[in-house]
Structures are given as C-alpha cells and as structure tokens.
Symmetry: C2
C-alpha cells in the first residue's frame, strides 16, 4: 500500500524531525505536556508517525497528515470516507454546560465536520473504573444520546471495559466516527487573501472546566461551548481551510493551518502563508479574560469544543450564514491570510490591542485533560 | 433515522431486559465482571442500548445487534461499510508472543473479518500515563506497525492523551476499524445442519497472559495466539456464522451464536437452534489444560485473540482451506448445529469426554484485562 499523499515526507524534513530526534526530544519519559496539544504533543506524534509504515490508503489522507480526519477512498473509487478517533479523558466528568458523554460525541462529529464531511455514524468505547456509580454512567450515556440526536448521527457500535479500582480515574470514552465527503476541506488549504473567521467566543470550554477544578466563580455561569458543528459547517460556503480549536486553542489551530498551508506540496507558487489576526476582533467573554488573567493563561491557547475557525474567500456570505445559525451568533472576522514575508519561520502574527505586533507561537502549556 | 434492523427490540423481550431491570441488575456500582465478557457484561450492554435512541444508520446493523462490527449503508446504497471499535486494557502490556500494540491492531482487524468484511483502515488512540517510558511506547507502536503490515491494513488516524501519574495504569489503546463488505457474515446466521469448526487450539491467549500474572511456568513456552484473521477468513467458503472467541472464550462465542440465531427475525421457521459440541474434539493445548486445572478455569471460557469459530454447510472445503493457512493448521470440526429440542432455554450442549452431556452456560468468570 502506497503513501502517495504523505504529508510529512522526508522532503518536508524541516517541518518534522527524524525519528531519532523525535525520540530524543521526548527525553525518556512521557510528560503531561505530550498530551496538551502544543509543541511536545507534536514531538510525540513525530515519534508515532515515524514508526508506522502503512500510514494511509491508496490516494487517501493518512495519519502523518495530522488532519482532523483521515480520508479513505473506497476500492472502486466511488466514495471518499472520512474517519477519525478521539479518546476523552476530561476531568471533572461533569462540568458547567456539559459532561464527558456530550463532549465525546460532539468532538468526533466536529473532527469530521471541519473536513467537510457529513458525519454518518460514531462509535462509543467506554473504559470504566471498578466501583463507578451506575447512576453517573446512566447520566453520561444519556448525554451521549442527546448529542447523537442533536447532531442526527447514530451511535452504531461500542465496547466496554472495566479496570480495577485505582487503575483508571473514573471513566474515559473513545469515540471514532465515519463521514461521507462530498467537498473536502483541509487545514492545509488556506490561501493568500482569505479572511479568517471564528464562529464564536473562544476559551469557554477550557475555562468552564478550570473554574470547577480551581474553585473559581463568576457573576454569570460560564458554560462549556461543546456542541456538534455539523449543521453549522453544512450551512456556510465551502471554506479553504477549517479547524476546531480544541487542545491548544485558537493559537494551535491557526499555527497548524499556517504551517500546513505553507508546505510546498500544498501550494503551487509563493513562499507560503502567514496568518495575521487582530486581538481587538477576537471574541473572548469577559469571564474568560478574567479567569485567564488570574490563572496566567492566554485565552487564545484555551480549548473550545464547539467553535470553528475558517479561512475563506467568501467572508460576507460566511459571516451571514454563521450568524443565522444558533452556534454561530458570535461569529467574527478576526484577521487575514497574507503571503509569507521576510525570513521569519513564524506563521501567526497578532496585532495587539495596544497596537504592536507579536508572533503567536504554539505554546506548550499544560492544561491537561480538558478533552 | 430509523431502527429498521433492530436486533433486540421489545418484541424480543426475552433475550434482553428492560432498562429498569438492567439498571437493577447492575446493583449501583460497576464491577470487574461487567467487563469480563459474560452475563454481567451483557447486563451492562442492556443498560447502554436502552439509553441510546439512534442505534443504527437506515437499513444498517447497529449497536443493539452487538455484532462484532456495525454495518453502514452509504447514502447512495452503493456500498456497505463495516465499522467497529475496541479499547485494549490488557495487563501486562508485554506478554509471551505479543504485546498490547500487536493485540490492538489484530483484535480490530478480526472484528471486521468475522463479519465478512475486508479491513480497509484502522485508527490508533493512545492514553498514556505520565512518566511512561518512551522506549516501551516505541516497542508498542512498533508492534502496531508489524500487525498493520502483516494484515496489510494501514493505521490512518490517531489520537494521544496523557493522564497524570496514577490516573491510568500504564497505557491503553483504542483501535477502531473500517472494512468494505461484499459478502456479509452475521453471528445470527447459524443454520440447522451446519458443522461447527474452530480454526485452532483455544485459550492460548488468556493462559499466556495469566501465566505471567500468576507466575506459572510451562515446559514449553506458551504464547498468545493473537493474530490478524483477515486472510484466513478470506480464504474459506462463506460461512453462515462466524465469531472470534475473545472475552468469554469459545463458550461465550457459541452461546451468542446460538442465542442470536434463535431470535425470530433471524430465521423463518422452526423453534431456533442448538449447538452441540464434543469435548473430545475441541483442540486445547496440554499446557492450557494444566494451567486451567490449576487455576480452576474452564479452557472453553478462556480468551483467544487469533481464532475463529464458524458454522458452515461446507465443512470439508472449510477445513481444507483453514488447514492450508498458517493460522488454521490446528482447525477442527467440533460439533453441529441442530434444531432446538424440548423446553430448555439452553443454547449450547457439551458432550463430555466421559460420555455425558451438559449445558455449556455463559459464565460470569472474572479474568479481567485480557484484551
């Protein structure tokens, strides 16, 4: 089986390290940062990609592309299927606005949706700690059911495992998902001149979680934004690139789009792209700003679970469509895609509220178990 | 979305309990038995099935059928896709003959294969404990790679999460898989007159694991049988029913086939089926027998991870094809499918070596974390 669509082949060596370097970068032991969605996570992925030889189906998009879903061309070429997986280890299991069950269905529906796929089915694999209250399990399965009905996507298969008390912290859920692709969207597709649009305020999910963990309280209840984005995505004009800013937040999502859209195979001409966003225009709730100030976090690096950021050449129609959808009422154009300038390797630039410009670097912040 | 192919609808009330009964049966807390593949596992599944409303795609086979894979008919009806998921929590991570990485790819390839599907792609979702040695991770990913190459099935997408030290016991892996279905095989398809064939000795995997846990040693090394069954399944004549005897072993596999093949919707006439097997004919290695005697286990209830049991009306060709495949050299015809007799609810009868006949009941044995 070939690897025709390899995303990080040796030719793109600058974007990914070799296996030996990746191992070295991991320094012998896995740390929480390797799961936090930033730089260390990318190093861990390098190691995994380097070990797997059959990374995709012929002509498909495989694991080394690190897209939100893989793409599989069926044997007769008649259909392209999107396929994705995600394990949810979020803590606490119940948090303002949602729980791990709701999150686990939404997250996988969203990974399919941002690729332009119509989600068709999800799976549900539970790992449960011995002694876990059946009542809590019922609530969580009930939330999975509500998310499945809200998205209109059935839960068609599953698995349950029980681990001895102390071997797993409560419960974790893996959901995988399958979608049918008509019009493909890739996170490597951003083009010079595109407008960058985010569908709503960022960071709500991460801060809603952290507020429970840290015992913060707000004047108004801050709820997780977790929601299935399939109908929103289907209502907007086909974007050039899309991503849901989950682990690592808007920061990681934009850096990934900028990096991937600058890989030689992704564009015919030019030196790649940069993304330039305006701090003033990025929607962030005041509770999120306040909590981030208190906790020393950057709201742009805090996870959302019901937002999407798109790069599009149809900004007016996209904004209009988003704003007329319940999940896109807070949509904002936050910046533009420009041609790469100078020698800087940086991909994302933030024009600050004070009028300066700074590089928005992918962080290695440890906010573990937010998804 | 409809539920046209519901497997355990209210009409089949005898085979599945109502939600309230299922909750009651769970008695407030999840126990290890709920994950062991026996009676309690079935009760836990009842609870989950009862909570999920969208259980399948239109015309497909969904979660309530508890087949090894779900079946999804694509929108234009041109293709049927098999979809399955499994989380591997096996302990220890490394065991004679294999490790969790090898097992996780084989298991999912097998769940597709026993449905008559050609596996097309698998996913790989890792949950890793903080502090886990990178070297062990490399070995495990290396084993996933070898299994992927052996089966000829690429690993196309993945996910990695890290949990705090003490929150997860080492590492667990979820793999989901997609296959293309040409000729469907269901575990509800067994027919009166079929011969029951198992592809090799049973219980090797479970006893190889337990031997490490319990410190047993054998004269010869007993290795796990874990292996990808896709090429074996593709080499035999299409059976009426097939199942890989994993959790709960041959016992659970045969009881499930007997139960499902007796559901009214599965057959037009008659009172259902029984499966009658001969203890003398069931291949069990002497090391497995000895270890089971020592541990008080029934070899027929111990897990395999590279065996398949089929019900077929072409026993000669099936045995010949199996024996000419490296994974089927130890294949044996072990019994027959007969018409249900008398009033007994039992589905599987064992003719013992001593000449008696006893009911082989699904056990509720706790051999946790063998897969």
């Amino acid at each position: 089986m070939g690897n025709e669509n390899s995303c990080f082949s040796k030719e793109d060596g600058k974007t990914r390290e070799t296996m030996a370097e990746a191992t070295k970068a991991l320094q012998g032991r896995i740390s929480l940062a390797h799961g936090a969605g930033g730089k260390s996570s990318a190093e861990l992925l390098d190691l995994i990609f380097s070990k797997i030889e059959l990374k995709n189906t012929p002509g498909g998009i495989g694991i080394d592309c690190a897209e939100d879903s893989a793409l599989i061309n069926l044997v007769d070429g008649s259909k392209t299927i999107a396929f994705t997986t995600d394990t949810y280890t979020v803590k606490p299991l119940f948090f303002p606005g949602a729980d791990i069950g709701w999150l686990s269905v939404c997250g996988t529906v969203n990974d399919l949706s941002v690729m332009g796929a119509k989600p068709v089915a999800v799976s549900c694999s539970l790992v449960i700690e011995e002694g876990f209250p059946v009542q809590d399990l019922e609530k969580i399965i009930g939330s999975m059911n509500r998310a499945s009905k809200t998205a209109g996507v059935p839960i068609v298969c599953g698995d349950t495992k029980v681990m001895e008390k102390g071997s797993i912290d409560g419960l974790i859920i893996n959901t995988a998902g399958i979608g049918e692709v008509a019009d493909l969207v890739r996170n490597s597709g951003a083009k010079v001149g595109d407008t960058v649009i985010v569908s709503g305020p960022v960071g709500d999910h991460g801060i809603a979680l952290l507020s429970v963990r840290e015992g913060l309280s707000f004047e108004t209840l801050l709820e997780s934004d977790a929601a299935p984005l399939n109908t929103l995505m289907q209502s907007i004009p086909l974007p050039h690139a899309a991503k849901d800013p989950t682990r690592g937040g808007l920061n990681s999502a934009l850096n990934e789009i900028a990096l991937k859209s600058s890989i030689p195979s992704s564009h015919a001409l030019g030196r790649g792209i940069e993304i330039r966003i305006d701090e003033d225009k990025i929607p962030v709730r005041k509770e999120v700003k306040a909590a981030c100030a208190m906790l020393g976090l950057d709201p742009l690096s805090v996870a959302c679970e019901g937002r999407v950021v798109v790069c599009t050449d149809k900004p007016t129609e996209t904004l209009e469509a988003m704003k007329s959808h319940p999940l896109g009422k807070g949509a904002q154009a936050i910046g533009r895609v420009t041609e790469k300038t100078g020698k800087s390797k940086a991909g994302v630039f933030l024009r600050t509220a004070e009028g300066g410009t700074r590089v928005l670097r992918m962080q290695d912040e440890v906010i573990p178990r937010i998804c």
